[in-house]
Symmetry: C2
Subunit: 205 residues, 2 copies
């Protein structure tokens, strides 16, 4: 039985486990099992399941329970298109509002990402990637946007870092990160948009 850190929200933990593939797609999330696994109360479990259902990370059928979403290609594409719309639109705001210290921070994160590629700590690479994209979006000054994209990212198929397509693709991602920061520093919205679109369309990140 895994003990859970008191501060960490249970629904986040559950979402991370789903994303990590602990529960196979289509399998039922039985409340009793979860209760034991996370050492949580029944109400906590019910609450977390309802949260994840509202966030569309899992599905629900009355009197049957919650189960892990079977990947739906069409919906995944739609979410990806939405992210492209949002992040390319945000690019215009970003070039206007970005501050020099934010650009410096982004360079740092982009560099950390490429530095980590050689190590095979996939989870760390994944997290640095997220951190980069979050910091990039934050330069738009729209906190709600940052939150929204984070949620959308979780709706995406549960098979992220664990099976990143290829080493070459990760390298390319690293380069694209730098390309984004460069375009941002040059305040070249069109170029930034183009890079972001291509980057998300690959949909590894």
């Amino acid at each position: 039985m895994r003990r859970r850190k008191p501060n960490k929200d249970l629904s986040d933990l559950l979402a991370a486990d789903i994303r990590a593939g602990v529960y196979s797609p289509g399998s039922w999330l039985k409340q009793i099992d979860l209760q034991r696994r996370y050492d949580a109360s029944r109400s906590e479990i019910r609450k977390s399941l309802e949260t994840l259902f509202t966030k569309r990370i899992i599905r629900y059928e009355p009197n049957r329970g919650y189960y892990v979403h079977r990947e739906d290609g069409a919906a995944t594409d739609e979410i990806r298109d939405i992210r492209i719309m949002l992040e390319t639109s945000a690019a215009e705001v970003m070039v206007e509002k970005v501050q020099q210290d934010q650009i410096n921070g982004l360079y740092t994160l982009a560099q950390r990402f490429v530095d980590q590629i050689r190590s095979d700590k996939i989870m760390e690479i994944y997290e640095t990637n997220i951190a980069f994209h979050t910091a990039l979006l934050a330069t738009s000054g729209n906190a709600s946007l940052v939150d929204l994209i984070s949620e959308l990212r979780l709706r995406t198929p549960p098979a992220p870092a664990s099976q990143w397509s290829s080493y070459a693709r990760i390298e390319k991602s690293g380069q694209e990160h730098f390309a984004m920061v460069d375009a941002l520093a040059d305040k070249d919205a069109a170029r930034l948009k183009a890079v972001i679109r291509a980057h998300i369309a690959q949909s590894d990140n």
Copy 2:
């Protein structure tokens, strides 16, 4: 005590009541009161409250409960900007994918809206407005996008139809609806974007 239709989801009903101003901003949503008012079980209430919290329609403090969100001007502006990003981006897809029968349907809805302006059934006008915008977005072919915007609309301050700014503004909205359909029929993405941006920026809809 209000009885609830079995088919209607309780959280939607609650959200509608919050939006309609049944609960004043900042007031606590006491579980016992809700239980009585909606003739629901305690678990149903807890579930719905958690749903609305996840959707950011209400707030929550542990051991204190859920309460109606006090309007936050900054966040409202951010959501509005996000909607502008999404709906103007979608405009490009819309002009590509729209079908003739959808254009006809949009004209019908736009006409219904202006027809209803004279009647003072504000709730119906509000619903027609929503129906129009939903149908407009649907022409993008992205169902997830339609859902997402619906959710974003609910996050917006709880004071919508009940106090629509002015009669003149509603008339203007009606005209803008037609302008949108015209631009869409002409497949003029730039014009469509401009109208949508102006329309949402007024943020009455």
